[in-house]
């Protein structure tokens, strides 16, 4: 029997999926599980998107252009310009989810063995894509004591080697919810310019900023127009994660034409998803106001509830719909598993993502978990009560 590849073995288990068998078992026992572990919002997809799908008038579901339908790219460029990102449709490659934008961005810019620096906690799937692309993720740790602000620039500079080709940020951040400030982005722009690095900016959560806080897109930074590669997605903006539509956007002609070559090899991004995504651009502004109001209320409720639990610290995130929380536990992996295997409160339990999987540096995150506030407040309330009860009785409490 032939053996599989070492790189296959090297992909770390997904922190949000590795507990699935225990969740299945808990469900078999009749437990209700509150899913705080995954970023699948319960917000309805806009009607304009659903109706576009219901009204398709096609006889053949044919390949689209490898860069995505021109009509969609043109409308998307208009949309970007309306939010201050000045690009042409030729600067856009439509991808199969934000996932493919990340993979194509890394593969187009980095050779195998080269390095990209990123603040940790980090989006766990960067690790999987790094294995696929044969590149190295070099972490620079951010700390819950700073509410996960950008680490000092000198810490980033220390990690630059001849193999470093770029920096990747997720803004607002998954998993921390941190929103990078204009000042922080200027510091990143400087370092990218001075060291001739790509700045990959994953802005999938751009629309989820609270308390009137401003989102600064890396695409608006001046002087590094050829360094910035925007990695985007419609998944969260329109609550249509399943259609798998994202975009790689850059003014760097070499990068976009190289990414297109990877795009041509896979023929085209999903056609039906592109129809939904293009129609979504017409979503009423009221939709976003309502979504923002809802998430603000959820966040406020959750942060307050968590910080009331003895020994727990939750920063107040300004963006996305995640938070990394400090818990008084010995080992967040053990705790998360115990919640599913051993614990119940009124026959219910919660599922959280151990933060260890969001750190590249081993040993970090053992007393932290990521919580996604993607449930309605009534459910969040039950979930928070359940978590508080669990922490009272968890044998590994510290």
């Amino acid at each position: 029997m032939p053996t599989i590849s070492d790189r296959g073995r090297a992909i770390p288990a997904s922190p949000i999926r590795k507990l699935a068998p225990y969740a299945d078992e808990a469900r078999r026992k009749g437990r209700k599980i509150y899913h705080l572990n995954i970023g699948q919002p319960d917000i309805p997809t806009p009607d304009v998107a659903l109706n576009a799908i219901r009204n398709i008038d096609l006889k053949v579901l044919a390949y689209s252009h490898s860069a995505g339908n021109e009509s969609y790219r043109r409308r998307l460029a208009e949309f970007y310009r309306s939010i201050g990102i000045d690009v042409e449709y030729t600067d856009i490659l439509i991808t199969t989810g934000g996932s493919e934008a990340i993979l194509f961005g890394l593969m187009s810019c980095l050779n195998p063995g080269e390095e990209v620096i990123t603040p940790e906690p980090l989006y766990a799937n960067y690790n999987g894509f790094a294995v696929g692309a044969g590149i190295k993720i070099v972490p620079v740790t951010s700390y819950i004591t700073d509410d996960f602000a950008l680490p000092p620039i000198k810490e980033i500079e220390k990690r630059i080697t001849p193999k470093t080709k770029g920096i990747i940020i997720c803004n607002p951040n998954n998993p921390t919810g941190y929103l990078y400030s204009r000042e922080e982005l200027h510091l990143l722009a400087e370092i990218a310019r001075d060291h001739d690095l790509f700045l990959f900016s994953d802005e999938a959560y751009r629309d989820f900023c609270y308390d009137g806080a401003e989102h600064v897109s890396a695409m608006t930074l001046t002087g590094i127009e050829n360094n910035v590669v925007l990695l985007d997605s419609v998944s969260k903006r329109y609550s249509e994660c399943g259609i798998r539509i994202g975009a790689l956007v850059t003014r760097n002609r070499e990068v976009i034409s190289t990414a297109l070559k990877f795009g041509q090899a896979r023929l085209s991004p999903p056609g039906l998803g592109q129809i939904a995504a293009e129609a979504s651009i017409d979503t009423s502004p009221d939709y976003f106001i309502e979504v923002n109001r809802e998430y603000t209320a959820r966040r406020n409720f959750m942060v307050e509830a968590l910080n009331k639990i003895p020994g727990v610290y939750c920063p107040k995130p300004k963006g996305a719909f995640y938070t990394v929380v400090k818990l008084p536990v010995d080992d967040s992996d053990k705790f998360a598993r115990w919640l599913l295997e051993e614990f119940e409160f009124n026959n219910q339990t919660v599922m959280v993502a151990p933060a260890t999987g969001f750190y590249s540096t081993s040993g970090l995150g053992k007393n932290e978990v990521r919580i996604a506030y993607v449930l309605k407040i009534e459910d969040l309330k039950n979930a928070m009560e359940t978590l508080a009860e669990a922490l009272k009785v968890y044998p590994g409490r510290v």
Copy 2:
């Protein structure tokens, strides 16, 4: 300005897309172009698929399981069993097109630097995926003089090195239309077993076999159950190329669980496409009878028309909807470009794919082009007339 990756530069230009700018220019001049260069069928997508999409009753277009919806995998396993491929739904990973099945298959089984042997002419995008996966495609040439039959086994064995991890075949073959016989598959099974190699079998065109010829799936070969990785797609079977749904199917538990890790990193395959693909399983048998009748007629017409042109030789392919044809020209790349830039007959011209892009060995394919018979006979008739006229006046005729 940071520089892009060498691997980005290494991806060869797509033989079916590199002529697009000349086609655009010809169109601007008002030329009608017969597209014999791409495998986009004009056959309607089955109504059951379109209706499933039109009738979606979802409020949130959410992520599906990373391996694909369980309901779809279960129905697909039933479908495979109905055609003699005995698998369980847990042997199936739903992928984003057959493209992702190829990429995940190669990445799961081969380390960077390792090799996979394939008969050439080959599916050109294997080259792009090989660059992405950092592996090497080792060609073994098949010849038009043998109608592109499997090269002698000793030629394949000669190319086995310590780095060889597998053999990849496309059956029926894109670009040649060759359908591998049971005997040829047994020879491949023997070599895979004796040398402990994976046998990747790309069967996207399984349903397109003519003259009553039997398709033998590599999944039905005995004694190498853990070696075979089936790479499949619904694109051609149901004429729904644009939904981007394929599958990686294998009884090798290590391969399927590794491929799933790559699948988890990209979250899920397209959700709307899965709905269409699952519904497509209910397509009436009459649909396939009609499609087969149509393609058989197109092939018969085209082969006869081509072989009537002086200096042209076209084998009679038993499968898929392509053929690689020998033309009396100096250079198929020049000829294909000349057709678009210089030639017209009744203000129309044809677009063909130079065969050079389907060979890995440089210098081969200079007097061959790939022709896709995806047009209705009336259009094929005009296209063949136009090609015949072109060959009369082409300055590089040999």
